[in-house]
């Protein structure tokens, strides 16, 4: 019979999980050249929601855990086609063009136009996954070899038994919020084009727009958006920028190594320090953690 047992119901374990979840917060930035356009981004994310299920097979299943990206500032560097006149072939022959006039460019954007979109708080990913419990004996790196357990306790760096949620599998999906993003994108494009051309007389603006075609469509074409903006955004954030992978990897690493769902000091202070009296600490041996579909259980023996 083990000496010490503590069990937490699924409801309690959910509260412990929520504390870990609420501490997840990270940011990243980067830039990529995607050929037709370049992208730089600044993204941060945190976790919200999620429901938890304890399973008889010893795993903790989490579903619908939201990754909320905020901020999510993306800047597209778009190279609008130049508008050039001339270049006519004025003496065609069966063997090709004998005289071709040079082209004179009358309009270009220099450097690439920057299309900023701020979609922080509008894009979410959803994570589902299963975790196994991982028990770790933790010694703080700041603890020196000469320290006793009491010295470590008094220095605020006691040894710990830590329980982590080690991912078994994780899935991530992008959530459909296309309407808002589509509108934001179009508004951003209009804004940029107005800034670029607004100072030209109307006929010149209209000429440029006529030659370039509807600029919103042109830019969408350059960005390769297509009909399904969800798919495009998912591909951009996921494949091109690697943002979804980054978030997934960070979350997995965080749960597995950075923030334990539960921890207990070892030796364990059963009586606290009182006036000048030292705390009474008891060694915990042979610890074990498990879950079933009702509860999380920690058992251990008390050392002599």
């Amino acid at each position: 019979m083990t000496h010490f047992t503590v069990a937490a119901s699924e409801r309690t374990f959910t509260k412990l999980f929520e504390k870990v979840r609420d501490n997840v917060s990270e940011s990243t930035s980067g830039s990529h050249d995607l050929g037709a356009f370049s992208v730089s981004y600044n993204a941060g994310f945190h976790l919200e929601g999620g429901s938890l299920n304890l399973n008889n097979n010893g795993t903790v299943e989490v579903s619908e855990l939201d990754i909320v990206y905020d901020p999510l500032d993306i800047n597209f560097g778009i190279d609008l086609p130049k508008i050039c006149v001339g270049g006519w072939c004025i003496l065609p022959t069966p063997w090709g063009c004998a005289i071709r006039l040079p082209r004179i460019c009358v309009f270009s954007s220099n450097p690439d136009i920057i299309l900023p979109i701020d979609i922080g708080g509008l894009v979410e990913s959803e994570i589902s996954g299963a975790f196994a419990l991982k028990l770790q004996h933790y010694v703080d790196p700041a603890r020196t070899p000469g320290m006793t357990d009491l010295d470590a306790e008094l220095a605020g760096i006691p040894n710990l038994l830590r329980v982590f949620l080690d991912p078994v599998w994780l899935d991530i999906d992008l959530i459909d919020i296309s309407d808002t993003i589509g509108n934001i994108l179009d508004a951003a494009i209009d804004n940029v084009v107005d800034g670029l051309l607004g100072w030209l007389p109307r006929w010149a603006r209209d000429l440029i727009k006529a030659i370039l075609g509807p600029i919103v469509d042109l830019i969408r074409f350059i960005l390769d958006i297509g009909d399904d903006i969800d798919e495009w955004l998912s591909s951009l954030l996921g494949t091109s920028l690697g943002l979804l992978d980054f978030a997934l990897t960070y979350v997995a690493d965080y749960f597995a190594q950075k923030y334990p769902v539960y921890w207990i000091e070892n030796p364990y202070p059963i009586l606290e320090a009182e006036n000048s009296l030292i705390p009474v600490k008891i060694p915990l041996e042979s610890p074990n953690v498990q879950v079933n579909n009702n509860e999380f259980i920690l058992t251990c023996d008390i050392g002599a």
Partner: protein, 239 residues
């Protein structure tokens, strides 16, 4: 981030063969072998020189000469390095202006026969003069060498669902009698190709009546009104 606009292309209202600009080209055939000294004039002043070498040894059938950015001659140990162009006989020189306010002309002088070709005076038979028109409106085309006129209408651009692709240049033959087509219509950024079939020709295309599109609506304007309380005296002193 800013738009790089060739301002002169959008602000030009008159295009003439005796003063080339960004929207015009002259194509001239060089039938005979020989060395030719070229001078480039900007607003009547020589700004560059070059040498054109027409010889059977060369395979180029076309040389493009940018009257705006031809490099200066380089002084090299006392000797001056000229800009050199090589062309095969019956090849073409294509004169163009990549930037700037225009009014360029050239004089080509053969070293052997002292023949002079001066675009500031006239274009000659077999020359081609190409004009690209951007601004919508009604233009007058004049052959000052033969006192003939015509009209070009440039339509207002239509922003369609697809990108606009300009048509091939409209060809007009210029003779003593006049223009083969004296009233033409084209879309903005399309061109007119004047094929000179007379000994002396000087083509001028002038914007008569611009079409700048519908007037843009002003922003909302609020009319200010003032109301005075009729029960209050206008001599009320301020405390």
């Amino acid at each position: 981030m800013e738009a790089k606009v060739n301002i002169h292309a959008f602000s030009t209202r008159s295009i003439a063969s005796n003063g080339l600009c960004v929207l015009s080209n002259v194509v001239h055939i060089m039938p005979e072998e020989g060395y030719y000294n070229g001078k480039i004039f900007h607003k009547g002043i020589v700004v560059r020189t070059f040498i054109l070498n027409v010889s059977e040894e060369h395979k180029n059938s076309q040389v493009d000469i940018d009257l705006f950015s031809l490099p200066l001659e380089k002084n090299f140990g006392g000797a001056t390095l000229q800009n050199n162009y090589n062309l095969m006989p019956k090849g073409y020189i294509v004169l163009y202006v990549s930037e700037g306010d225009g009014r360029y002309s050239i004089i080509l002088e053969s070293t052997k026969k002292r023949k002079v070709y001066n675009t500031a005076e006239y274009l000659i038979k077999s020359d081609l003069f190409v004009v690209t028109l951007l601004r919508p409106g009604i233009y007058k085309m004049i052959d000052k060498g033969n006192n003939n006129e015509g009209q070009i209408t440039v339509k207002y651009p239509i922003i369609g669902k697809k990108r606009f692709i300009p048509n091939e240049p409209i060809k007009i033959t210029v003779t003593e009698k006049g223009f083969s087509k004296s009233d033409i219509s084209l879309n903005p950024s399309e061109a007119v190709l004047f094929q000179i079939d007379t000994e002396k020709s000087m083509i001028v295309v002038d914007l008569l009546k611009p079409d700048d599109g519908p007037k843009e609506k002003l922003g909302k304007q609020y009319r200010k009104t003032k109301w005075k309380n009729p029960n209050m005296s206008t001599n009320v002193k301020k405390r």
